[in-house]
Symmetry: C2
Amino acid sequence: MATYVKDFSEGDRDQKDLLGGKGANLAEMTRLGLPVPPGFTVTTEACRAYMTTGEVPLELPSEIDGAVRRLEAAMGRRLGASDDPLLVSVRSGAKFSMPGMMETVLNVGLNDTSVVGLAQTSGDERYAWDSYRRLVQMFGRTVLGIEGDLFSAALEKAKSDRGITVDTDLDAEALRALVATFKAIVTAHTGRDFPQDPREQLTLAVVAVFNSWNTERARLYRRRERIADDLGTAVNVQTMVFGNLGDDSGTGVAFTRDPATGKTGDYGDYLVNAQGEDVVAGIRNTLSLHDMEQIDKAAHDELSRIMNQLETHYRDLCDIEFTVERGRLWMLQTRVGKRTAPAAFRIATQLVDEGLIDMDEALSRVSGAQLSQLLFPQFVPGADTTLLTKAMAASPGAAVGAAVFDPETAQEWAATGKDVILVRRETNPDDLGGMIAAVGILTARGGKTSHAAVVARGMGTTAVVGAEELVIDAAAKTMVCKGRTIAEGDTIAIDGGTGEVFLGDVPVHPSPVATYLEEGLDAALAHADDEDEAELVKAVDRLLTHADGARRLRVRANADNAEDATRARRLGAQGIGLCRTEHMFLGDRRVLIERLILADSDEQKQASLDALLPLQRGDFVELLEAMDSLPTTIRLLDPPLHEFLPELTALSVKVALAKAAGQVDPEDVRLLAAVERMHEANPMLGLRGVRLGLVVPGLYELQIRAICEATADRLAAGGNPRAEIMVPLIGSVAEMSLVRDSAVQIMAEVSKERGVTIDMPVGCMIELPRAALTAGEIARESQFFSFGTNDLTQTAWGFSRDDVEGSFFGQYQEAGILSVSPFETVDPEGVGRLVKIACTEGRATRADLHLGVCGEHGGDPESIHFFHEAGLDYVSCSPFRVPVARLEAGRAAITTSGSDSR
Amino acid sequence: MATYVKDFSEGDRDQKDLLGGKGANLAEMTRLGLPVPPGFTVTTEACRAYMTTGEVPLELPSEIDGAVRRLEAAMGRRLGASDDPLLVSVRSGAKFSMPGMMETVLNVGLNDTSVVGLAQTSGDERYAWDSYRRLVQMFGRTVLGIEGDLFSAALEKAKSDRGITVDTDLDAEALRALVATFKAIVTAHTGRDFPQDPREQLTLAVVAVFNSWNTERARLYRRRERIADDLGTAVNVQTMVFGNLGDDSGTGVAFTRDPATGKTGDYGDYLVNAQGEDVVAGIRNTLSLHDMEQIDKAAHDELSRIMNQLETHYRDLCDIEFTVERGRLWMLQTRVGKRTAPAAFRIATQLVDEGLIDMDEALSRVSGAQLSQLLFPQFVPGADTTLLTKAMAASPGAAVGAAVFDPETAQEWAATGKDVILVRRETNPDDLGGMIAAVGILTARGGKTSHAAVVARGMGTTAVVGAEELVIDAAAKTMVCKGRTIAEGDTIAIDGGTGEVFLGDVPVHPSPVATYLEEGLDAALAHADDEDEAELVKAVDRLLTHADGARRLRVRANADNAEDATRARRLGAQGIGLCRTEHMFLGDRRVLIERLILADSDEQKQASLDALLPLQRGDFVELLEAMDSLPTTIRLLDPPLHEFLPELTALSVKVALAKAAGQVDPEDVRLLAAVERMHEANPMLGLRGVRLGLVVPGLYELQIRAICEATADRLAAGGNPRAEIMVPLIGSVAEMSLVRDSAVQIMAEVSKERGVTIDMPVGCMIELPRAALTAGEIARESQFFSFGTNDLTQTAWGFSRDDVEGSFFGQYQEAGILSVSPFETVDPEGVGRLVKIACTEGRATRADLHLGVCGEHGGDPESIHFFHEAGLDYVSCSPFRVPVARLEAGRAAITTSGSDSR
């Protein structure tokens, strides 16, 4: 039999699917014997039936009738009776909180007769008519769909007619007149009178809540939050209690611990002679719970006892709403309370120490997102600032420094010990030196996955991008924002957590958690500002240590040089999952690649390759030394070669102008011809990755040889090098077969030349849909797979990251098409399905196939849970995100399901 | 028990897997009692065992011994005996023909003793020593791996020492000396003497054939032809017979019908006193079979009888090799013979008329590839021509006309009735008018899927592309090729089947099949040049009619305007599968799109949209009229909007030069700013398709409204319009849901406005991997799917068609990574798997989901078989390919598997 109505006394907190969050918690408190105003819940099942058929289920009215009768019997009052009437509130309550999305109707049961009874019972005529006035207004707007402004206008007129400004100055007489006006509005706009039958009021209010589930606004909210449309909402019908019946009444909210710091104790606000909405409105100053104790010790002590009981019962910080009606305490709501990131870590370990939860449970209560908030310095709150503009928060932290507009100056000034913020229209690989030197990066263009954003996050450098209000003149070394000119050297500050850009200095508070991760527990405790910070650092240490013990996924880092690798190792990385060799061809070495591209003869090509070999070998020796004994996956060259050449349009303009001036540099003309020849309409999908390796003779062979020789050098030095060769952009097993054959041959050659045994794993990136779909074949020739989920997302969705994220992703998120960028969190249905296919079919071919991920998703909490479930062996992420990945990998291991089952 | 050796008398033609093609046919002829020199086959199973273990299977030598003993008993001679020795040939023979790939050794059994016996038996000492010389040479090179040049050089020296130039002038003495020299070469290069033991010769030759299966060259060939590496080859060991024992001996090849025309009768060449290789070498003139009858009537008549028997037995044209040894006929080989396209159609229907096969079988014997060869005019063979250059054959046919270098001139001259060939460096959408006007298109750049190639194939216009030897000066209206200058108006001719470009006129023969398809059977018969052409036309008609009756797949056409649609309908199209609306925004209307993009205000945008509405409606009215009663799928706008704006680099150069000259056009500056703002790094993966529809307000709404209003107009005119709305580049169900809601609303509005009922199917293209992977979801909101296999191939493989096909595809095909471009034939493992997933999961959601394909693959024979098997409802292709698709869809329906089970 369908369950359409449940009394509060019938349910418990585990029935959120059926009763919604609010209803389940009301039932739980009722079950605990706490003073909850009696009531019942119309279940989500009723709502779903209504949504499916468009009609109220046949049984619902009689079930509601039954529940009302039980309620009346329990309270000894009748709904809407002329004498001491029972009034009820009607509130929506879905499984997942949808703040501000749905509807509430209070004082249901009042009508022309019962308002008189209420006045008598309460002895307060004004209060009775005001309550009736509120019912007609709320009911009219919410249930009958009348424009709310009509009621507001009438209320304003009533006040101005009487020369008063505040609602509370309207007396009973005025309110009675206003009720008449409101009722006339209802009649005029619906063609029927305001319903006097309390049961009819109730039924209509319940249906109105059902309908509120499917408003445009609610649907959009759910699309964004990925809440299923077919869950439906429950409706809670609860006896009204009043905190505004005099000085022995009041209403308040409370927390069982400080949600900002996690400190134990009772925290809350109380307002005498008031209703809930008055607290929210903030009209009068609220009292602390300590003050409440002075006013009404009995109610306070009972509240205090109940709060203790709830915290012990829920084994977590609880957030509570209550009302005191003529000295009697009523609990209106409780739920597990939200908290700040430091509080989350401290509360979790406190509860362990109090014996309420175990370490697994504590670990599940904190998140990687919270940990990442703790990793960065913050601007001191409340500091005096001059906001210049607000743009995209691309890489967190707080940075203050001198504005510089070119990478050379950034490097020069930084070398003198100056903090600089590199400001660019957008960045490209040539800016890398300046980006490394800077404490912060600010760009006028690009999105969260622009070059600037990706590189900054990779380095853990604060960045704000896409600040379109900035007009940057790199030549003049200035930028203009809203008419204000900032010159080179002027101090600016950027907040990578909020996207804010400030003019002038802003004080910064360093992160104690970052100190802990970089320098260890003792150093962090020694530097801690106070006990709170010390407690936080200890909590993080305990939870991260527990996560390391619990997790199955190993955590590697993406690092392109020995310095990054060393840092990653300090932060707990268990290897390198991605060393991008293209970064080794920038700067001074770019000319060698350029020569390789422009070479007229095979001899010239070979000369370039020969010159590159010792340089590459040197890179790898350093890297393998830094990562001694740990696996180090080196990716062969990936980007299109034209990325090493000048940009087409700029060079075309240069040559055209030179020609016009009769001063052509023949070298430029030659270069332009090469750039035009190599130009691609869609370089993402062009001659790059393994295609380069197969089409440019000697290129991959050079790199493989350099890795082999570096391995031999390290072996000779007594090290334990563990390089792995990774081939990018594989689309078919034939490609992999050719590169693997070549690698095996070079390993044999170098082994022979150097008298050592070199036998490195050779694997590939799975970053094209076809690679995932033919993974069973590819695994024949590949010893490991590393998922390149960025490129896999680009190709599966047909999204060019650089183009779409800054362009229409905003509109797509507004429209609810994307709830989160698939470049931030792996898309489970599309990209994730490809990952799973490749895992399953790859392992079917090669049982010991090693599986990892080296896209940016490797550091994203939600994605890490996905990769854990997909059965990967490791994730690899930016060094700075390694602690976050360790924590989330631990969480994934202790929970059956990684994400909410929405 | 393993089967390593089978006598010819044990097998039959169905055992190609085990015996290879040649062995199976030798067994079949033996079984039929034909005079086949006895022998046996070492099976592919033996080869596979050898490949797996690297060693000859233990049982193989004794099995070969047994077979040799049986052979000796049957022939009454002993292998390599000193008296009348038995000699054998050792030939490879795999399941699939691999011409020139593998090895043959003749005269096995000769040694220092048996050569004397052979001389005695044959009475021809020179012949005996020449045979021995050939054995040592072939064996040395093939079996022992000695550089063949060593033997050739020794042969040349023997001739020059004796002052002679032709091999046959070497006498017995000279040959005996040469054998000694050859044997010395063998000893010097292998460290052991030439093996004298005939059994050892035989075993070594068999192993050499096994090894030839895995040479680099053979592997590469198989990769290209998609033949599995693990099939292995069989080895045929057969008694030698000799056609060079005097004037009563000879050798020849024959066909049971003319493979060029299909005419019945015996066709062949015969050479008296010769061996097979002499026929191939073409040293002497061959005789016809009629001449043979005069020389050796008995042998001729027996051959004639056997040929009749074979054709009736194989029920097809047979290709035969035979030898006459001293008046006795021996059959050396037979197989179903290759034939030209016209012969294929004629033979198939002839065999039906002769009662040998039925129409289904006849249909399976012709192919769409053959039909397409028949559709185009051809240059008259043997005509006197001046070849300018040879480039890529992009769209078949033969075209002669005046060279023009810009589309305007092409249109002007064509309007005066002149045939023109449009010559461009490369084409873009602005050239469309000129391309339509031209009889042929020639470009200097681009590959088989460049704009020029795709458009030309779509229109059935002859095209040659990527002629890099042409230096085109569009401003001067000339091109230079190898020093020769061609001016505007000069006559040139291009062959779209071979890629040849000729200077001057070349006579053209029109296609009778094209006349049949365009004008019907009667017209074609009336125009037929001769009986052969008339027979061909009738054969095509019969087979195509049979295919239409057999096929399940419907065939639609891709057509963007009423003219193309009308033509498609004439060619048998059953609807439009893809009408690309972007072509409707070119030419004069481009300015409206440009205004839409550059508009500063919503009013300006709306004005552009309002101006476009009646134009679009007019387009659709024409189209729906042309396709009245047939489904007409109209795709909403797909390409990135910047395609309607000038190109970035060119405009940047223009503005920079103008600035330098102090003459800037502010309009250009404004335009450049827009172009820069809209520029994308990878437009393929950018703001296009449905993304445009969701992000540019009013755009899709305009198009949907135009379709609805056109439908209403056609209904009012008494027509039966059947438009379908297709949304491109869907990646998620949410996108589809939004467009569909909007379409439903507009249909309701126009229905109301016009007092008609408009209820068109709304569906989407599946052209992104994610769309295929979430097809089950998307089908909730989509009434049909049309696979855009071009884009699906681009994204699944990560191949930008424009960039990769002309760049590294050639090298990829050389290296055997790709056997055919995945843009020509659908890749079954990757793209095909996505298609199947989407079909299965889409239909699971919506049982009546209509499925089609509108990518270029829709007209590719092999792909059509794939789509048939995947369960699609229709394919859509260029109008000109409709007959090919009809034929192949019919073939797919009558065969269980579409392609060879390689």
